[in-house]
Amino acid sequence: MRYSKYLSVAKINVTERLHHSSNLAGRALVVMVRIWIFTTLYTATYRTIHATTIHGIDVAGIVWMLVFAQSFRQSGWPNTAAIIETEVKSGTLAYSINRPYSYLLFHFWSYFGRVGPNLLINIGSAALAGIIFVGWPSISLASAGAGLVLLAMSFVLDFFCACAIGLLAFWTEDTSAFQWLYFKGQLIFGGLVLPLALFPDALRRVAEWLPFPAMFYSPARLLVSYDGALFKWFLLMQVAWTSVAILMAVFLFRRGVRNVEMNGG
């Protein structure tokens, strides 16, 4: 009973997402359009330089990495940082913190509740686009297993990073600058436009230490082709960065909640 409450939190978020079916469909369409743009872009690039592979990856491989990374990234919407910021700014925190649950776990399970339906729709539509534009991917059992482990961890990491950013609202009220940095970091180093495998070696070596590739790029990369050493590296990075993000979120919440200053009613 004590922990089943969190499953109910996830469940109501699933229900709520399903009420936004037109919005879900719209976002899925956006993902499909992006996949078409990327297919066109990378096909033209490879043709221009007369290459069939770059760093061992062909156009189909890149497109499928982007199919996965884009769908995973879109599934966390609406983003946790903005939700927590709104709670702090609007004062609805008055309701959300005085209930018999852990505030952080409440948002954690809310996030996973949102991810469920979003992911199904996004991956379905993006995969359809991938199949149409570059054909079926070749996913082995090992790559599927590794990809799923990394995917679960990448959602946990994304949640706690976004949560920590949202909790900064206890001090700054407006966290949009931090959110912007975070999303741009994901965009550039998170393999959402350019897979890390295509980065120049020096830049890639630096980028691999950042939390962003450990998010949605890591499962996307492993799903497309299994690499044992890379799997271990990504898992290590995920565990390390997730630990840091959890500690930050817990610290910020504990400090923040003591300093809540709600104006007026």
Partner: protein
């Protein structure tokens, strides 16, 4: 065992508010050299509440009412002083306290906006760990008492404000709290919705002994719901006593606003004092203690001699009541031993 359900001693809350001068220059200055002003929202309040009491905690905007409620419910941490609420220290034992209290903030919603209220109730049943059978029984009772059955399955966004507020209160009562904190529960509601909510809160208090701690700007809420009134202003407790005594002492007038079809220059009723007059509207102030007869006479006269477009009857606003309290400082008294600071001033800080 302590009989008191709430004990508050010398409660204080100070905030730091960033200051900025007007204009672009002010913005740059604030960026380089930020200035803060310390605001004391609550300045040493002490009171006790017995189980089952119905209390109105009132005061003008910025008086410290909501800040006090938020400290009582564990949302804000006091700067100093102590609180025991249902046996717990709210700021340290917030999760335990949550099982014993219900909160309704009239200007905020706890219901899932796009889902029917019943979905939120199902979630709250799990969150508060209410056994299934008890939840069903409780929900059945509350649905009937608050008459929300017709719109239980309607998404919250489609409900009127009155319907939504009834659903909000039900959400706060599912876990059988021993104290219900209501912060402006009737704000923005029409007369009928207000009456309905007052009636059901009162019934709940009588039937289940739930302690009601209410803040409101509506003198009607206070008169019909609370047996005890505490008035707070500038963070200090100014009055703590029976609502009847408060009403007799400070709610001394009612205002009647008449909108007429004809010109008001022929209006010659001698009841009350005309405070405002325009071509088709007239405002009359009546003594509250003679209200029923006076209003009856005034309305009879008006209906007999004029075609009435609209009639409004107002209680004096809270700001006006507080102003009168200050004006009557020497006459202040409390009807029991709970009281308080009878110092007419100072008003050192604005919250």
């Amino acid at each position: 065992m302590n009989a008191r359900i709430i004990e508050v001693r010398d409660l204080r809350k100070r905030f730091r508010a960033k200051q900025k001068q007007a204009g672009l220059r002010g913005s740059f200055t604030a960026l380089v050299r930020p200035e803060f002003r310390e605001i004391e929202a609550v300045s040493g309040i002490s009171f006790d509440v017995n189980p089952g009491e119905r209390i109105a905690f009132i005061g003008p905007n910025g008086a410290g009412k909501s800040t006090t409620i938020k400290m009582l419910t564990g949302i804000l941490t006091p700067t100093s002083g102590s609180i025991r609420c249902a046996g717990y220290d709210p700021s340290r034992e917030r999760k335990k306290l949550a099982h014993s209290i219900g909160t309704v903030f009239g200007q905020k919603s706890q219901l899932w906006y796009h889902l029917p209220a019943v979905d939120t109730y199902e979630l709250f049943a799990k969150i508060y760990e209410i056994p299934r059978v008890q939840y069903r029984e409780r929900l059945g009772y509350l649905v009937e008492a608050f008459e929300i059955a017709p719109f239980l399955a309607t998404p919250v966004r489609k409900l009127s404000l009155g319907e939504r507020m009834r659903c909000e209160i039900v959400a706060s009562l599912l876990h059988r709290p021993s104290i219900l904190f209501l912060d402006e529960p009737t704000i923005g509601l029409d007369v009928v919705a207000k009456l309905g909510i007052r009636e059901v809160i009162r019934e709940l208090n009588e039937r289940e002994g739930v302690t009601i701690f209410l803040t409101s700007h509506d003198a009607g809420d206070i008169e019909s719901l609370a047996e005890r009134t505490m008035v707070v202003n500038h963070g200090r407790l100014m009055f703590d006593g029976a609502t009847e005594a408060f009403r007799a002492q400070f709610i001394s007038t009612k205002t009647v606003e008449l909108h007429l079809e004809e010109d008001t220059h022929a209006f010659a009723c001698r009841v009350g004092t005309v405070t405002q007059k325009s071509k088709h509207s007239i405002t009359i102030e009546l003594a509250a203690d003679a209200k029923s007869e006076a209003i009856e006479e005034l309305l009879s006269y008006t209906v007999e001699h004029f075609t009435v477009r609209d009639i409004n009857i107002f209680e004096p606003p809270m700001e006006e009541i507080i102003r009168r309290m200050y004006a009557q400082v020497p006459k202040w008294h409390t009807t029991n031993d709970r009281s308080v600071d009878t110092t007419p001033e100072p008003i050192p800080l604005i919250s």
